[in-house]
Amino acid sequence: MSGIWLHTSRRGKALSLLLLLAFVLVPAIADRYLLSVLILVFYFAYLGQAWNLLMGFAGQLSLGHALYLGLGAYTATALWTLFGIGPWLGVFIAIPVAAAAGMFIGWLGWRFAIEGVYFALLTIAFAEFTRIGFDHLQFTGGAGGLFLPVNGEAAGKWWNLGGGPLLYYYLSLALAAAATVLVAALRQSPLGYRWLAVREDPQAAQAVGINIFRARMLAMLISSSMTAVGGVFYGFYYRNLFPSQVFDISHSIELILAPIIGGLGTVFGPIVGAIILTPLGEALTGLVQSLGLNAPGAKAIFYGLTLMVIISLQPNGVWPWLARHLRLDRPPE
């Protein structure tokens, strides 16, 4: 762990600490709107880190990550509504459920040499299959949805994750920060180097004795577990779940935008991506509204164009470019 800290340049250390400090202090001056936007930023940064682990480090494109999100969310919320088990405990059951699904998909994919686009489609198929399945699962409400009580005795306490935006703000910030530290640590670890080898050249990696299958499965295990925790957060933050929302492919696509735009395979990529994309969406909405345009869909058009422009100009992501310009990629003198 100290390894990463030593390897980061002085400038990098200062900036990351500064950023963290800024986020910790922001609620003192910010209003609820900004807080709600930042919660989304941290949420997507967190999920981005989780997904980035599988894609950026182990090189496996998953387009069905919403599956783990949904499984995590449903498990924890169902435990709460049906058995009264709070989310701080429920998360420990949600994680193995999602991880099991991830491992199963990983095993199917890598045991049977399903690569690239094919693997991506496998993940989509599982997510869609589960979505329709949950639409029919009556004991979690089916298509009608699962609802958490809002007022009342049990709600509103921090151990049941019922609270105001401040609770969720610090929780999501903590998750995003912890994920970043975890990812940085993993990257510098032997496992991280094995992943890098597997991603860059699987055959060569195998030749030097790395167990590709094991490495990938570990990546999937950690990635799906982390995503499940994000799902628990999601379930309790929104207090209601519909399969068509949680498991939907658009949700899967949404959570991979930040890490790709930010910079795949980098530690800060998902954070930079989330910081750019979420406020961009809000700014575009505000812009369209202030122009008084009665043009539903205009914002989404701008958003789509922005994605195309960014990926054309900076295919490796914004963070590597930013890091170069801020001279953050230089090692400490």
Binding site: G116, E128, H136, M308
Partner: protein, 288 residues
């Protein structure tokens, strides 16, 4: 009961042929250029709207406007490849993905902005006709659309088999380096390929407009459907795309009938998973 089952199968088969034509375009593009066109469904819906507009303004049957729309889409595909897609050929899948997802978002919301959210039907004089074949009721529009789909697919097949350009494109798909070495103008051929792929989409969309009503929110489902069919049928195999389409059309119909209609799609996804695991090259694809 047997009659009803047969009815379900026949309708599924006919619809599946049109889906197959749509998937064919994807198969051509991915099979040759390895570009993952995640905006496939969106292009199909644009073609549906094109057919709708031509019908509303010129009162032309989509079976006729099929040709000009396909030709126009060829042109669009060619240009798109030369300008936007070309730099992304050979790049990582996730980059192609973002580009095409961005494009898809722009297209869908553009359609919403221009046409509004209502579904746009094409009301042909024979839209409500059906052939009574024994105890079966077979929709006339589906029969005509299926026949047209077969015709387009056959034309494409002949093109790839017997023309020089077609052979050249197949060469690129088989061995890119070899093709370049032999002096084939790869960039140009890629553009032609993308054009052909989109022409298929244009044709399929026009035919689809006779069966379904053009609406922006159909796009994503069509993209997934196209990918499912192509994987099951086999990438790079045209016959495979059609067979995949038929298989999906029929199996979804049967699953819907015997199990539960709302679980129809679960079945297709399950089939997709099985094919990916057991036989990733699909039913008719070449061994990867």
């Amino acid at each position: 009961m047997a009659a009803i089952t047969l009815n379900v199968i026949v309708q599924g088969l006919l619809t599946g042929l049109v889906y197959g034509l749509m998937a064919l375009g994807l198969s051509v593009i991915f099979g040759v250029m390895r570009v993952v066109n995640f905006a496939h469904g969106e292009f199909t819906v644009v073609a549906m709207y094109a057919a709708f507009i031509l019908f509303e303004t010129l009162h032309l049957d989509p079976l006729i406007t099929l040709l000009p729309v396909a030709a126009a889409f060829f042109g669009i595909g060619y240009l798109l490849q030369r300008t936007l897609i070309s730099p992304f050929v050979g790049r990582a899948e996730h980059e192609q993905f973002i580009l095409l997802v961005g494009l898809a978002t722009v297209i869908v919301n553009g359609l919403l902005l221009v046409f509004g959210p209502d579904a746009r039907p094409i009301n042909l004089s024979y839209s409500f006709d059906s052939y009574a074949v024994g105890p079966l009721f077979i929709d006339k529009v589906r029969v005509l659309a299926a026949l047209a789909a077969l015709a387009v697919a056959a034309t494409l097949f002949l093109f790839f088999r017997y023309t020089r350009t077609g052979t050249a494109i197949r060469a690129c798909a088989d061995n890119l380096t070899g093709a370049a070495v032999v002096g084939l103008h790869v960039k140009q051929l890629y553009a032609v390929t993308f054009g052909l792929g989109l022409a298929c989409v244009g044709a399929a969309g026009t035919l689809m407009a006779t069966i379904a009503d053009a609406a922006p929110d159909l796009a994503q489902a069509y993209t997934l459907l196209a990918f499912t069919i192509v994987i099951i049928g086999g990438l790079g195999s045209m016959v495979g795309a059609l067979i995949g389409g038929i298989l999906i059309g029929v199996s979804e119909a049967l699953a819907g009938f015997y199990i539960q209609p709302s679980m129809k799609s679960m079945f297709s996804f399950a089939l997709l998973i099985v094919v990916l695991v057991m036989r990733p090259q699909g039913l008719m694809g070449r061994r990867l």
